[in-house]
């Protein structure tokens, strides 16, 4: 089943996607797991889709694809590595990714993300499925220069709008056997498969659940699969994953007020 979140005149609502139709759910899928589609119905093409989840945490798995590590000449880590994004980075389908001025290069990574359905901690790998609502596409955008300079990703990947997710949460799929493709301006830029992961989604969720309690809506991105792909304002990015669909986002320049300029990595002396 595919779950979307969308804007209505009564505020944001969740619904089930069936072909080109969306049927509104009685309650949030994070509150009521029965997924009771009670109407009203909408035409998918006429809805403004939102990020399909409201997380309390956006967790990034990293260094998790064998081919990506090999291409960069990096050793496989012996353990799962995690990062975080601030909540303001969350963006929905078709929302622009806003690049701050001053960076020499900007990149994105195409990823499969796990969406948590029920509160959990200390979960064994075998039990992970009980707590996962489903899977979605994740765009992990970055100011590459800042990453290059600081090695800490919270700054380089933490800009508002740098974590688009969607378009829907797929509740019925095997996350270990899906193809991830990325397109920049319609041109295929990455073509990978989740079987290339070192630590599969169940292992990632189990490991992180021993460090921190996971709440309904939390996102765990499973790592860079296709390399860091360059982007610039004016570009259009599509991330396509089997059974989920395509997450599309335009790229634009972020505009700052004159009295609050973007400062890169260094605090200005004002």
């Amino acid at each position: 089943m595919k779950i979307a979140r969308f804007w209505t005149s009564r505020g944001p609502r969740y619904g089930i996607v069936r072909h080109d139709e969306v049927i509104e759910l009685r309650a949030s899928p994070f509150v009521n797991r029965d997924l009771d589609p009670w109407g009203p119905r909408y035409r998918l093409g006429e809805l403004r889709l939102l990020a399909p989840t409201e997380p309390s945490k956006i967790i990034l798995g990293s260094r998790n694809y064998r081919t990506m590590l090999k291409n960069r000449g990096w050793a496989e880590p012996g353990e799962v590595m995690f990062g975080l994004k601030p909540l303001g980075a969350l963006a929905g389908p078709d929302e622009p990714i806003l690049l701050p001025p001053g960076g020499g290069s900007y990149t994105f990574e195409c990823e499969l993300a796990v969406v948590i359905g029920r509160t959990c901690a200390e979960v064994s790998e075998a039990d992970v499925d009980k707590y996962v609502l489903g899977y979605t596409c994740f765009n992990d955008s970055q100011v590459f220069d800042i990453y290059d300079k600081t090695t800490l990703t919270y700054h380089s990947k933490g800009y508002d709008s740098f974590a688009p997710v969607g378009p829907v949460i797929q509740t019925e799929m095997d996350p270990n056997d899906v193809r991830i493709k990325a397109y920049v301006n319609g041109r295929l830029s990455a073509d990978t498969h989740t079987s290339d992961m070192i630590f599969n989604p169940a292992k990632l969720v189990s490991t992180v659940s021993h460090m921190m309690t996971l709440f309904p809506g939390d996102i765990i991105a499973t790592g860079n699969s296709g390399g860091k792909l360059p982007i610039k304002p004016g570009d259009h990015i599509d991330i396509e994953i089997d059974h989920i669909g395509t997450l599309s986002n335009p790229v634009a320049a972020r505009i700052y007020p004159k009295n609050a300029p973007h400062e890169g990595t260094a605090i200005s002396t004002i």
Binding site: K57, V80, L152, Y154, N259, A260, E263, A266, I267
Partner: protein, 269 residues
């Protein structure tokens, strides 16, 4: 004014410290800037204090002291490194710091936490202080051996209970001159002098607001990258700031399998 958050039979409540008493507020300081009081008071000593905020983001600002030279990452003294802890790492005064089995060597460091009062996005320097609710003490706990091994800040310092904060938010603190004392079992172990650590909190906040939108209740902590004090199960850690109070937490080994799962995103224990 010093604001605290405490557990009550009807959920978490905010209040302001008045001598040995706490005057309960009708709302919370993020929604009601006038801080109106309900008329109820409680004895401070009897109150189960919670973390004074329940943030959506915990941002750590790390600036090397000027004399420390290169950090190994090509940064200079005026450059800023940002890191994050997950919100589930927050605990309040008195709650135990639980050392997980994933680590072997643990440390803690004194930090000042800035508590955001109003949403911050693209803030001009002159406007920054209007967006700050106040300041409190923060204990930055880290599994030092994990950080040494994989350099992942989240893996090393993101465990639950690794962000003790409190006891109160001081709204009038002279933050630029604040000194944060760190005590292990009552013995002075470290002092962070913000002046020497080159933090200009206003500049840090303006800087961060041009990257990410900070929300009311969010925490920006300012500390050092090095110089953690070793802590172990059985210790008691006190972090003290004049005008804020003393944040005191015991250290225990984490137990597995039999604990209650947290029911909120943070700040409840």
């Amino acid at each position: 004014m010093r604001l605290v958050r405490f557990r009550s039979s009807s959920g978490p409540r905010y209040g302001t410290i008045q001598g040995a008493e706490v005057a309960e507020m009708t709302s919370d300081p993020f929604n009601d800037a006038s801080l109106s009081l309900s008329g109820k008071t409680h004895a401070l000593n009897d109150l189960p204090l919670l973390s004074p905020t329940d943030p959506k983001n915990i941002v750590s600002v790390l600036i090397e002291p000027e004399d420390a030279g290169g950090s190994g990452h090509g940064t200079t003294a005026k450059e800023v490194l940002l890191a994050a802890k997950p919100v589930t790492s927050i605990i309040g005064p008195g709650a135990p710091i639980r050392l997980p089995r994933e680590g072997r060597i643990f440390g803690g460091a004194p930090e000042l936490a800035v508590v955001i009062g109003k949403p911050c996005r693209n803030i001009a320097y002159a406007e920054v202080y209007k967006h700050i609710l106040g300041y409190t003490a923060f204990n930055n706990v880290c599994a030092l051996d994990i950080y040494e091994r994989n350099k992942s800040w989240v893996n090393a310092s993101g465990f639950e209970t690794f962000a003790p904060i409190g006891p109160a938010v001081a709204t009038q603190l002279d933050a630029a001159n604040a000194e944060i004392g760190y005590f292990v079992n009552g013995k002075p172990a470290d002092t962070l002098k913000l002046k020497e650590a080159m933090f200009d909190i206003g500049r840090c906040l303006a800087f961060i607001s041009r990257i990410m939108t900070l929300m009311p209740g969010d925490i920006v902590t300012t500390g050092r990258r090095t110089g953690f004090q070793r802590i172990k199960a059985g210790d008691r850690i006190d972090v003290t700031i004049e005008g804020v109070g003393t944040l005191s937490n015991p250290v225990v080994d984490r137990t597995y399998g039999a604990r209650d799962i947290r029911q909120t995103t943070g700040g409840m224990s």
